[in-house]
Each structure stands twice: as C-alpha cells, then as structure tokens.
Amino acid sequence: MTTPTTQVVRRKLVAGSQDTTELLRHAALQAKRRKFSEILIVDADAHHYETESWPEIVARIEDPVIRLQASGNSTLRGTTSILPGTTSGDIEMSGRIPRYARRVKEDGNPSEPRDVTLIRRAMHAIGIDYTVLFPGPLLRLGFHPSPEYEVQVARAYARWLTEVILPADEHIKSMLYLPFQDPMACLQLVREFGDCKGVIGFLVASYRDRSVHDNAYMPLYAELERRKLPLAFHSSVEWTERTFAVMNRYVSIHALGMPFNHMVHMTNWVINGLPERFPGLRTIWIEGGLAFVPFLMQRLDSVYMMRSSEAPLLRKLPSEYMREFFYTSQPLEVPLHSLDMLRATFDMIKAETQLLYASDYPHWDFDLPSQIYDLPFLTQEQKLRILGENAADLFGLGRNVSS
C-alpha cells in the first residue's frame, strides 16, 4: 500500500555529476524549519577550489617565468608545479566523503563564473546571506620554500578574485591571502587591493615559520589598523612539520594541528603586546575550534603572573586580550553527552559579541547554522548575534536579510 503523500526517489551513488542543491537538501529543510530566511546569517569561513580555475589565475601571474612554469600543469588540480603538494592527510577519508571527487563534475551556470554558481547554491541551501570566501589549496602556498612563488601566486589570486569573483555578487566577500613570507609584499598587497569591492580584510594562513611579532610586520599591521580592516588567521596543518611527523593518522594531525598553530601565533601575538601596539586592529581566529581557547587563557594567565617581566607591554591578563579577539565557530566541538564545557567555553570567549558562525563548507567537517541555533543554553538574541550580527558589525555588512 502506498499512501498518496509518499514519494519514492531513486538515487545512484557514483554516476553523474554532483548537484550541490541536492547534496544539501537536508540543510535546506533545516533552514526552512528554523525560518533562517528571516535571520541574518553570515558565513565567516567558506571555501572554493580556486585550482579549478587555475588557468585564469595563472594568466594573472606577473612574472613571465613563473607564469610559464605554472601553466604547464594546469590540469593537475592542487598538485601543480607551483602549489606545494599535499601531505596533509586523507581529507576525503578514502572516498567516504565523496563530494571532493564529485564536485569537479558539477556544472555551473554559463552566464557567470562557475565558482559563483556553486557558492550561491551552497549559500541558498544552507540559508546564508553573506559568505566570506577563502581559497582551498592556496592556503598551503606558504609552505613553498621560495617566497617569490608565494608572492606571485598570491598576487595573481588577488587579481583574479577581485576582477572575476567578488564583483559578480555583492553577497560574496573575501579576506585576501597574504604572502606572509614577504612582509613588504603583504603591505603592498593591502595597499593595492584593500579598497577593492568585496575585500573586507586580509588573511594569514597560519602555519608559518615566521613569528607574527617580527618587527618586519609592523608596517603591515599599522596599515590594516589605519584602514580598519581585520586580520584573520586561518589555521592549517602540515603533516611533515616536525611536531606532527611523529603522528600516524590524520585524525591526530587535524585534532592537534589546527588549534596548535593558532596557539603558537596567539601566544606570540599576546605576549609581545601586539594588542597594545595596535589597539584598533581586530583579529579573527579561524578554524581552530574553540576548546583550545579556555586552555590557553588559563595557561597564559598562570605563567604570566609569575613571569610578567617577559611581557612588559601587557597591561592586563593575557586572557583579557583574548576575550577581545574574534573567533569562528567551526569546527564546533559539541560534546555528545553534556554541554557544560561548551557553555563554559562560550562564556570565556564572550561568544555573544566575539563569536562568528562559520560553515567551512564544502570541507569535510563543515557545520550548518543549526549547530549554533539549536544550542539550548543560548538566548534567541545570542543566537542572532553569533549567526550573523557580530560578523555584520565587524565587517560593516549591514543587517539586511537576503531575499
């Protein structure tokens, strides 16, 4: 017996191309049931695969020798002669997360850049009004041993993004990748692209051999502060890095590596008094999770009380500076059996004003807005601030909900 309201749908797992709308249809249902269309939702960390548009980026590389070198491998997604090869692990879980392989088959809309179509599909399904877009494989650019390659590709990416992607949709924003191995090139990039449409800040992909308190970066921070543009640190991991090379599984690398690199930079940032030197420069800490923050607050406060002479620029406890930083929510470490620790974490980071919802879509550990919206210990007002209003205020986006 089949009831009149029953619908039977047949799906094949492998054949055919991916359809983001179909893949995320459950996300759309969640959005509909929670009336996300009436709520401002800003995704402070989403990604695209810029390597799928590699020839367009290569064409914008200024150095003709590097441009020729880069163009020779344009069909090898993410493993070109320029981008450092991935030793970050089995992100796709050996095919268990099939969207990585399938998305290359997904069709765009011929009337606009394919990236824009795919981004819009995800935004629409999830219920996002504004998305802050970051690159994918280019986040590893800083691992390239030669700074000139990082500078050349970072500049080409900035040109492509500001010429092709960002002008196509006012709801797509970006914080541009900084070639952090070359402080002067970073400063030049901020000055050249800081006023471009859709650019709302700049990004350090935060595994680096460089110290963020190096004097060479002070002009960069001063320029960002003067322009009122935030500086984001987006965590990433590298398996071959000495600390992590002793680990044998990506679950270990990811669990420790993403917050670890944030902790290194955050500690340097605080202990060397960067918040005192640049009180108007707002920092955002992306994709390290949140659980590390209470640990680092307690640890730094405890040691600082005994060794304050080593941090003479500080005028308050390290944790008090950290409560003024902004954090993105993904990957939200939601405990399975008790939310007490998560609630305490939200209290410690002052989530009501400092936490920004982020999806990280389409990456393997993405979070939907319901991860925030369904938390029972948040008030409705707190949910609205975290899901969109904090980011709207930080980035100057306005509070209007998309139609």
Partner: protein
C-alpha cells in the same frame, strides 16, 4: 503498519539508494548489500546528513600480533558500515549502531521482499 513498494529486486545494485519520503519529516533510505536489504532513517544523528546515501565499507581493523604490535590494517568482510557522506560518521549496517558511540543508533525499518518486489514497512 503500511507497506510501501520501493521497486523490483533487480532494480537495486550496490550503488542504488531508494529514498522514501512521506509526511513532513519522514525520510527513509533503502539499500541492498549482497542479497540483503536494509532501511534506515535517512538523517544522520550528527548534523542530519543523508546517511543512507553514503558508501558501504568494511569496518577497519588493526591486526595485533601476540606481542600486541600493530601489523597493519584490514577491512572486515563481515562487519560493514554505512558512512554518512556529509562528515563521515559510520554506522553498523546490520544494527544502525554508531561505530564510535554505541549509545547512538539509527532508526531501522523492516524491508520485505515478496515475489521479486521490495517493500518498506513503516
């Protein structure tokens, strides 16, 4: 109890998932592995992903020798998991029990095969 016709036995191969939706919030996935049919709620217990549309793969085991040294990994041929395609949460194909947290379990539905036809029982 109602029986919903979801197709002929021969309509199913290992990559086929039949999704049955009814009401405002019911969605069940039917799949075939070997000669057996399985049906579970198609909402992952993690973030609501379409869990029945994931791959089926053997549980990964570590082989330890008598001295408890790890001698590599293998896929189980008897314990199969269905994997949510959104984030990779794994569930036992026979029971719906979450592989990493046994207190969590997908809701299972009976499947009946009669005269070459497959029915979901709800």
């Amino acid at each position: 109890m109602a029986e919903i016709l979801v197709g002929e036995v021969d309509d199913f191969d290992q990559d086929t998932r039949v999704i049955v939706e009814w009401g405002t919030n019911h969605e069940v996935g039917v799949l075939r592995v070997g000669d057996e049919f399985f049906a579970y709620s198609n909402r992952c217990l993690h973030q609501g992903g379409p869990v029945c549309e994931g791959i089926v793969i053997g549980k990964v085991n570590v082989n330890l020798d008598n001295e408890k040294r790890a001698l590599g990994r293998t896929f189980s041929t008897t314990e199969l998991h269905i994997v949510c395609p959104w984030h990779g949460w794994e569930f036992d194909l026979e029971t719906g029990q979450c592989a990493s947290e046994p207190s969590l379990r997908l809701r299972k539905f009976p499947v009946k095969v009669d005269d070459g036809r497959v029915y979901l029982v709800v």
